[in-house]
């Protein structure tokens, strides 16, 4: 099924591909048909920059949950450390 589940946010970051590092300015987060992952649907993370460069990830739902949990933990720890506001 086409879920049409997608949202996007501005980001300030960098991503690396075979061509090296480049800035990324926007992320689309969705859950819809997988392109490459051998599942019908995937959590889709697309990072793009203004010049059209793109880094994409497809994860199954369990991996998406695990990533989210670890990301929350890391961010909470980072905030507690007070190293970077």
């Amino acid at each position: 099924m086409c879920t049409n589940i997608a949202t996007r946010t501005a980001v300030n970051g960098s991503a690396t591909t075979g061509a090296g590092w480049s800035p990324v300015s926007e992320a689309t987060i969705g859950f819809d048909h997988a392109t490459h992952l051998w599942r019908e649907h995937a959590v889709r993370l697309d990072f793009v920059n203004a010049s059209g460069g793109r880094v994409a990830l497809e994860l199954d739902l369990a991996s998406g949950r695990a990533l989210l949990d670890r990301l929350r933990e890391v961010i909470a720890e980072a905030e507690r450390s007070g190293v970077d506001a």
């Binding site: 099924m1 086409c2 997608a6 926007e26 689309t28 819809d32 048909h33 392109t35 793109r54």
Partner: protein, 256 residues
């Protein structure tokens, strides 16, 4: 009708396939993949509606398959306005933008129908077929525009929509356009599909019946969504072979 190997080995069986440009909605230039049998015989036409994953390789194959079976076939790039690149890159832009508007889709597809009807080989009959989001687009377009001789919805999710699903780009559920459906409809569905669910297919069927529309629905056990896609895990060979035969039988009946 037998799908595979139904040609005569002595027949002239060539085709041409290319990318052309048509004038779509708002007069926009839209790329379209076209496949046509060789020869000057009069024949039906088929407009193919690519699925949500984009104007991709499998749709080029599908387009050529209709030419192989004697139809002039065209598949417009509904994502053309998002630019060009590898299909999944273009689709990523369309997803980020929340999809494409129904009205634009209907006008692009009607333009493709007119393009086919203007061919010297046209017999004046054109069918419409789509899978996935394209199945929904087929039902929607055959309700919003006229001139189609047959329409095929392959597991189109979102024909039945809840009020919360409606958006400015998809403002009306296709099921609510049923009174305007302008052509006989063939629907193929997998009973394990989550969208459309068997209950939603029932609901659509009840609406077609209520409005006296000509339709045939076939539902497959052991199949879910996208069971024609041999490059994806949902592929079900037995159901797909039967489904393709039903599609060609339906077009043979309505586009001759």
């Amino acid at each position: 009708m037998t799908l595979w190997n139904s040609f005569d080995t002595g027949a002239a069986d060539g085709m041409t396939a290319t990318v052309t440009k048509i004038k779509g909605a708002n007069g926009d230039e839209v790329h379209a993949y076209v496949a046509r049998p060789e020869g000057a015989s009069r024949r039906g036409g088929v407009v193919l509606i690519h699925h949500m994953p984009g104007w991709d390789e499998i749709y080029r194959e599908f387009t050529r398959r209709f030419a192989q079976h004697g139809y002039d076939a065209i598949c417009p790039d509904l994502y053309c306005r998002a630019g060009h690149g590898k299909p999944d890159e273009v689709t990523a832009k369309v997803r980020a933008d929340g999809g494409i508007p129904d009205q634009q889709v209907a006008e692009d597809l009607a333009a493709a129908m007119s393009w086919l009807k203007a061919l010297p080989t046209s017999n004046g009959k054109v069918g419409l077929i789509g899978t996935c989001s394209g199945g929904r687009h087929a039902v929607m377009t055959a309700s919003k525009t006229k001139g189609w001789a047959a329409v095929v919805d392959l597991w189109g999710g979102g024909v039945v929509m809840q009020p919360a699903d409606l958006t400015p780009k998809r403002p009306v559920a296709p099921i609510d356009m049923t009174t305007d459906l302008s052509a006989p409809l063939l629907g193929l569905f997998g009973n394990d599909d989550k969208s459309p669910t068997p209950e939603q297919v029932d609901q659509h069927e009840a609406e077609l019946k209520k409005n006296g529309k000509t339709y045939e629905f076939h539902r497959y056990d052991g199949a879910g969504h996208g069971f024609f896609y041999y490059d994806r895990p949902a592929y079900r060979a037995e159901q797909a072979v039967d489904g393709w035969a039903k599609v060609f039988t339906f077009f043979a009946k309505n586009l001759a």
